[in-house]
Symmetry: C2
DNA sequence: TTTTGTTTTAAACAGCGTTTAAATTCATTA
DNA sequence: TAATGAATTTAAACGCTGTTTAAAACAAAA
């Protein structure tokens, strides 16, 4: 019994690694069991199926990585500062988990039809608080009136997409992993600048 | 013999549909054969393996969809107009092929290690012509001096990423497929505006 | 000691990608 | 017309996959 929690965790960790590295569909349950150093049948004992294990992992990953982001979106920070913090924290988080974007993208495609029921995925998106803030700042004239949906999609795109095309960027610019990290670091300043610039009132 | 080209094409078309819809790994060769209305063994007769068939399809998709984009990048158009045209054509192309982004993303992840040899993928990226144009316009003071790599990554992100998170956007904003198409249409004006705005000289 | 939860062993199922061998259809060409 | 050779089918096999099952072994708690 003492080992139970431990074993479950070992399966969970091994599967998480493999799912992120190779993708869910290219990872076999026998490979997970082997990396976790446990028996194949134990996978079925703890998680009923591979798909079940995947759901558990996906939910945990989303929860773990989105809590701080949501806290920032819902905070009382002034808009520009909120954007800066959000981008910083998001990019830092993805830098530590560079495979996360591809993983989530593949899930969004793989599970297109059951996205509505996958509650964990909601944490990727804007909160009502933040949406309201954008609209109200627009009304006050502090920023240009902006469609919050477009603005949030812009922000997500500029933050996340570069990680999805990492290998393309490295290959075409002939740079190393380290240099790509530097490139991403630069984006922590650049992206908020683009976003805030675009919000500035015209005329 | 008369049917040969036809049959090869039927396999190719069926596989393309399925790869885009379900992803390569979730599509079985038996399913392809069934949809193409041909025999399983014929798959091996025309394409030696599933991976081979995939390579052929991927190369063809990239070529078909990138030729016009590259032509625009290499044209003599004035920079702002070039950006506008590029974004327009790109978004139109993805609108007609909304699954293409997810497909390419999955390939970038799936085949991380052999990206360098996948020449077709190069067509997704900036050309030297365009890179030079950005640098020179910066020197002339027509635009703000800008890192072309960042600029191109920004542009690709704002164009492509929304398609990758389509289901998320639809779900969270509670909109239909048609309304999402409208949302994308708005981006044809919005994205060039953001990009060109950011290039404007400061002070 | 009995009970309970954990772990293993072993095997089976249908489906997968792949490959093979042989038989067959069929249009063209000799 | 008959022979040639490419196109297509049928049928089967290989090892691998996800999944499930049954039975046994083990450890610790009751």
């Amino acid at each position: 019994m003492a080992k139970s929690r431990n074993t479950e965790q070992k399966i969970f960790d091994a599967a998480t690694e493999l799912f992120l590295e190779k993708g869910v569909d290219r990872t076999s349950v026998r490979e997970i069991a082997s990396r976790a150093g446990i028996n194949l049948a134990l996978m079925n004992y703890y998680f009923r199926s591979k798909e079940n294990l995947f759901d558990a992992i996906f939910t945990a990953l989303m929860k773990k990585n989105s809590e701080e982001l949501i806290r920032i979106l819902n905070s009382d920070l002034e808009l520009n500062e909120k954007i800066r913090q959000y981008v910083h924290v998001y990019i830092d988080m993805l830098s530590e988990n560079p495979l996360l974007v591809s993983f989530v993208m593949s899930i969004l495609h793989r599970s297109r039809e059951r996205i509505t029921e996958m509650k964990a995925i909601n944490s990727l998106y804007a909160t009502d608080q933040f949406t309201r803030q954008i609209i109200e700042e627009g009304k006050k004239g502090n920023i240009r009136r902006t469609d919050p949906t477009h603005f949030f999609v812009d922000m997500l795109s500029l933050i996340a997409f570069p990680f999805a095309i990492k290998m393309l960027v490295m290959d075409k610019n002939n740079i190393t992993e380290k240099e790509f990290q530097g490139f991403i670091l630069e984006r922590k300043e650049r992206v908020p600048e683009i976003l805030i610039d675009n919000l500035r009132p015209r005329r």
